[in-house]
Symmetry: C2
């Protein structure tokens, strides 16, 4: 037997950035967000089945590196993700990520994937899912403060899942707004470039905040938020990083993914620890109320949770059969006799 | 610019199983263990610099999947490792692993590597390092109970680092002993096949236990251990899994890697929580005594700690320049403008 030809057991499918782009372009970005949204919704509905833990974070002066594991008992998944606000100025991505899906039964990985693009898709899908349950009925206009890497994904998600027709864009850097507007040209969305945050939120049903500073900032002040609005707050996602004025939080009904993580990382870190919140999964499976009146302000305080990455990896894993946008890596040592790891190594030498 | 050619920033060197075997065979297994041992020793000496946490484990009926992160402030590393005792009977490896080394400054991975083979090397290197400080002076004979995947790596490590000349092998399955004996034929070690654990430990200076059952077993009973011996206990490494009779522990001076993890996973899980132990790193950098008398029984209660994987990844990372046993994977999305992730994806379509 040729020990240099790894057995199929040694192989793990790898989806590179290039192959992830092929997958997105073959399905269509908006359609893929919709499909991932369905996977996330299905997994939120069976929330109690998941083994949940706040992410494991290594903080440094420059940023954070996090591992986000979870399991549904059949599969285990984790994501590696960094967040380095100073990266952009140095020509690096603020957030990069990759992840693994593995079988619980034998611990063998079944998928290794880039997740920088996939995280952008699943974050937008999660926002749109929350809005589907929380935004005012028939919402057509969304204001977007912060037009960075997440902006276009959010816009497409709200168009496809919620039915938004108009997006009003504002960023402190007009070049970011121009970039987003250009990328959304053929989306069918009515894109309006605004010169202030106030202008961006005028007359809208939904406000999305996705700025990236690693500090407490007030991109949305209390007088900018009228009754009946749904706020989709994406940017506040680590200790000391928030986007909304505290008074807005006090007027809103707040919905979160996983309270032990959001209390530390989300907008609600500035509130008392026992401030009432509702878990999104309970709204989705009918155990808790979502929006109950037209005048209510709903706030999705999103920080991103491991189950959403799990859902996205599960989706990509299912797509491997369709189109084959992956290569196999011999990541796992698989000797003929599992106890003969050393023999496999030394025989590889003589086989050459 | 061709957006389908990823920039160098997008690339992460990947060391496959095949390339790890090439690296081992180009350096020589024993020599590579010695060199990894030096990296582990150097990192134990600067132990306080590391960000340490017990591994993050997802237990199931069949086994465990663990993430083992650590950082020295400059680099961040983690290992994914499974432990599934029932895997061998199904033709899978009991333990498979892979790992990542990343820069703390920007969070970008600089190495993605198989770690099934690398873990075997670093585990043996750590055992030999502990024995260098704890085994009786001039130790020449070692008894080995359990002749599975780890056995030959341990034998070579103790030969190269400690000066062991004779290994006495015993396993409940004679085929495992035969396998190990065959693989060690050209090592220069005097290999003696034994028919019982008692025979294997007769007259030895060092006893290594590395069996793999996920349960409390007594592979070494009290009357088998004479004074002056060093015990290298590898197999007890998760809750409910131990190898030694409790009475041996009570007669021995016990040395561990990281107490918060060993108290839960190691042999000492059967002792009181305040039973005295010594941290190995303190012996290595001179802050604590190792062996102090000829009659003393020393016990290294090894469970494997994240810094050892970090040291091994650091070693492999340094080897990338020598010989180039790796390929580059486009794991990281790297758009020309960091904020234009969406534009990179859609431009990839039109570039085709």
């Amino acid at each position: 037997m040729n020990t240099l030809s790894p057995s199929p057991l040694a192989m793990v499918p790898f989806v590179s950035v290039d192959n992830m782009m092929r997958l997105v372009n073959s399905i269509g970005a908006a359609q893929m967000i919709l499909e991932i949204c369905e996977y996330i919704e299905a997994d939120f509905k069976r929330w109690p089945e998941f083994d949940k833990t706040p992410r494991v974070a290594a903080h440094s002066e420059e940023g954070v590196i996090e591992l986000m594991p979870t399991s549904d008992g059949e599969y285990y998944g984790f994501k590696y993700v960094n967040g380095h606000p100073a990266n952009m100025a140095r020509g690096f991505q603020t957030v990069t990520a990759f992840g693994v899906l593995a079988k619980v039964l034998n611990g063998y990985p079944v998928l290794f994937s880039e997740m920088t693009i996939l995280t952008a898709l699943r974050t937008a899908a999660t926002s749109a899912l929350a809005a589907k349950y929380l935004a005012p009925k028939g919402a057509k206009a969304m204001g977007m403060i912060g037009n960075g890497a997440q902006c276009e994904f959010q816009a497409l998600a709200f168009q496809k899942v919620v039915g938004v027709e108009t997006v009003r864009l504002y960023d402190i850097d007009p070049l970011a707004t121009e970039k987003a507007s250009r990328n959304l040209k053929s989306s069918g969305l009515n894109v309006i470039i605004c010169r202030s945050a106030e202008e961006a939120v005028t007359g809208v049903d939904i406000i999305t905040t996705c700025t990236a500073d690693k500090q407490n900032a007030t991109v949305l002040s209390d007088n900018m938020v009228g009754s009946g609005v749904h706020i989709n707050a994406i940017g506040g996602d680590c200790p000391g990083k928030t986007e909304l004025h505290r008074d807005i939080l006090l007027r809103a009904n707040i919905f979160v993914e996983y309270p032990p993580q959001t209390r530390v990382e989300g907008e609600i870190q500035v509130l008392d620890e026992d401030h009432p919140i509702t878990e999104l999964w309970q709204v989705i499976n009918g155990q808790a109320d979502g929006r109950t009146s037209e005048r209510q302000i709903t706030l999705f305080d999103s920080v991103g949770f491991a189950t959403e990455d799990f859902s996205a990896l599960r989706y990509v894993h299912h797509q491997l059969k369709n189109g084959g946008h992956y290569i196999n890596l011999d990541l796992l040592a698989d000797p003929d006799d599992p106890r003969d790891l050393f023999g496999m190594v030394i025989r590889a030498k003589s086989a050459k």
